[in-house]
């Protein structure tokens, strides 16, 4: 893992001291709220519906056990005993007092964490495949490049006041688990002549105007990555619309400019910038790569057997590690009826302890709001499962219908137009009652509480969008979305559903799938792509076509 050097430590200490002074000046009236607001946002402090919220970046989703314990400490000391892991590999604390936040940031600084650029029109936390460094299908660990991008983008003087926020995601695997095609820049590692580089995609995004990213370079050598990204952001910074907040993201810039012309401008800017990068960035990258060496893997033994509940959990919540004697464990933060992404301080401490005992001290946070133990020896799986089960973290539902992404929605968020968490809770509870989700198989349900789409509903196999219709919560449903390498934006089914009707509505869709599929091997998404919207729509709205189907 990346280790802060003296420069990083000093930078963070100085930045935290600046923010402490800014808070003091706000409290004594030296700064107005209008003056203070952009300063607090630059440090991840929002004012939400009920309280302040502190959003802490978890760079490319990687945490050490000590960092996880620091998050637990913040949850226990300054919050209400829990934190909320988000769809951007951040954690949000929902209840801090403004006067406490400087102390929280200082504590984060002791373990190399911060909240810088988790808000504002800047380059946000660089996200990555949550199985990075462990996945069997990986070309190479993408995190060194993500760290390089993080260092380049943090406090980058040219990019502190972009037209709008800017998100970069990177994956080292052909199987895209980082939703790279729904980011402002998506980077997908590929090989050419045996050497890794990146397919560069630009202009993806969800929100009000969802778009799938377009490939602007089929193959970019690693050495060109920073100047090329700088060229993209530089062109966007010049062309991006500042007259209309809703048309300010790069997806609109690319759409309005046209990919061909946008690409021409980027290449021209790249030609100017490339000679300025004399190799220092590659020296930094080499130093970073040294910090992401594999842990000293022990002999992990063979896959153990165990009782049915254990075997079910292994089947559902573990995937192949790059070493056959290890496994990647996804810890579900989606116990049926629980708030997706929430973890208590005690659970965070337990996860840190398990990481130390059985995963070489490493953890990951996924954009799907779960926690990953990336390197678990096969013979340690029973002990890990027992500990998780006893802490309420043993739910075997990863990748299934109740493994729902949900944004905070109107239970917390000032921007929300409807709730999303209780819908997820209700759905998961119902799915548990039906005992069908293992039979249903892979199904991604994603819920957003407003059009900004933090819950990624556009790329859910079943997407749910909560809106305010004349003072009443109403939920639109989309089908067929996909956030992987075969990315697609879901199609809206038709009229929305009232809060108390959305769970039965989704149940009808799932039951229709079971009736319509060619067999258990045909996933929901495959069935939808084969059959189209009509039979699902008929079942959803209970029209005659459903009876005939």
């Amino acid at each position: 893992m990346y280790q802060y050097d003296d420069f990083d430590t000093a930078f963070l200490a100085e930045r935290n001291a600046q923010f402490r002074a800014q808070v003091e000046r706000r409290l004594d009236g030296s700064l107005t709220e209008d003056e203070f607001k952009p300063l607090r946002l630059m440090n991840g402090v929002y004012l939400q519906l009920h309280a302040y919220m502190l959003r802490v970046a978890i760079p490319y989703g990687t945490l050490s056990s000590d960092q996880m314990r620091a998050l637990a400490h913040l949850a226990r000391t300054y919050d209400k005993g829990y934190g909320h892991f988000t769809t951007r590999q951040n954690i949000q604390f929902n209840w801090p007092k403004l006067v406490d936040i400087p102390d929280m940031l200082d504590h984060l600084g002791t373990v190399g964490l911060h909240a810088i650029q988790t808000s504002g029109n800047t380059i946000r936390n660089v996200t990555a495949d949550h199985f990075a460094g462990a996945a069997a299908d990986e070309i190479a660990d993408p995190r060194p490049v993500a760290e390089l991008l993080r260092q380049w983008s943090t406090d980058h003087p040219e990019f502190q006041f972009l037209p709008r926020k800017f998100k970069i995601a990177v994956t080292g695997s052909p199987n895209d688990r980082a939703v790279t095609k729904a980011h402002d820049i998506g980077l997908r590692m590929t090989l050419r002549d045996g050497r890794p580089g990146f397919e560069v995609m630009v202009g993806g995004g969800l929100g009000r105007t969802p778009m799938i990213g377009k490939t602007i370079r089929e193959f970019l050598p690693v050495a060109d990555l920073l100047p090329y990204c700088e060229a993209i952001v530089s062109v966007y910074n010049r062309l991006g619309r500042r007259d209309n907040k809703y048309k300010a993201r790069i997806k609109i810039t690319v759409h309005e400019t046209g990919l061909e012309e946008f690409s021409r401008l980027v290449e021209a800017r790249f030609a100017e910038l490339r000679p300025l990068f004399g190799g220092a960035d590659q020296d930094v990258l080499a130093r970073i790569e040294g910090m992401f060496a594999d842990p000293a893997f022990r002999d992990g033994g063979a896959a153990p057997s165990g009782p049915p509940a254990f075997r079910s959990w292994v089947d559902t919540n573990t995937v192949a590690h790059k070493r056959a004697d290890h496994a990647i464990v996804t810890v579900s933060l989606k116990a049926h009826g629980a708030t997706p992404g929430d973890a208590s301080a005690d659970q965070m401490d337990l996860l840190a302890d398990l990481a130390d005992a059985h995963a070489y001290g490493e953890l990951r946070i996924s954009h799907e709001q779960n926690v990953i133990l990336p390197h678990v020896p096969q013979d340690a799986l029973p002990a890990v499962y027992d500990a998780l089960r006893d802490a309420g973290l043993g739910t075997a539902n990863v990748g299934l219908a109740s493994d729902i992404i949900a944004c905070p929605g109107m239970d917390y968020c000032a921007l929300a137009t409807a709730r999303s968490i209780p819908v997820a809770q209700g759905l998961a509870t119902r799915l548990d009652e039906l005992k069908l989700e293992h039979e249903v198989g892979a199904l991604k349900i994603k819920i957003s509480g407003c059009i900004n789409a933090c819950g990624h509903h556009h790329v859910g196999h079943i997407g749910i969008l909560g809106l305010d219709r004349a003072g009443v919560e109403n939920y639109q449903i989309t089908l067929g979305g996909d956030g992987t390498e075969t990315a697609a934006i879901g199609e809206r089914t038709g009229p929305g559903f009232a809060y108390d009707q959305v769970v039965p509505a989704v149940e009808r869709i799932i039951l229709a799938y079971l009736a319509l599929r060619a067999g258990p091997q045909e996933t929901f998404l495959d069935a939808y792509r084969r059959l189209g919207m009509a039979p699902f729509k008929a079942a959803l709205y209970q029209t005659e076509e459903a009876d005939a189907a």
Partner: protein, 104 residues
């Protein structure tokens, strides 16, 4: 035609703590919406919003729709209802124990 004025309360968040608060008729900030002043006159509402601009005490003050209830002002929109009760997914908001619950 301008929309007819509907009753309002003044609400904000405390600067230091972030708590949701409402302005009372005797110029206090209260954690209990039922104690808030229900404003039924548009001109008076504008004055009270000016009164509420207390930048060392609160942040983000605004007028929210409300109605007269048996125990005092009550919200008319679900967003404001959640602000009075705290999150519906957990019973530990600023108003823990008073919320209607997840099925609200």
């Amino acid at each position: 035609m301008p929309r007819p004025f509907t009753p309002k309360v003044v609400t904000a968040n405390l600067l230091r703590e972030g708590d949701v608060v409402w302005l009372t008729a005797d110029d206090r900030w209260t954690l209990d919406m039922a104690e808030a002043e229900l404003i039924e006159d548009e001109a008076h509402a504008a004055v009270r919003l000016l009164d509420a601009h207390q930048p060392l005490v609160v942040v983000g003050e605004y007028l929210a729709d409300a109605t007269r209830g048996p125990g005092g002002p009550e919200p008319t929109h679900f967003r404001e209802r959640f602000r009075t009760t705290g999150p519906t997914n957990r019973d530990h908001g600023k108003h823990a124990g008073q919320r209607p619950g997840p099925e609200a």
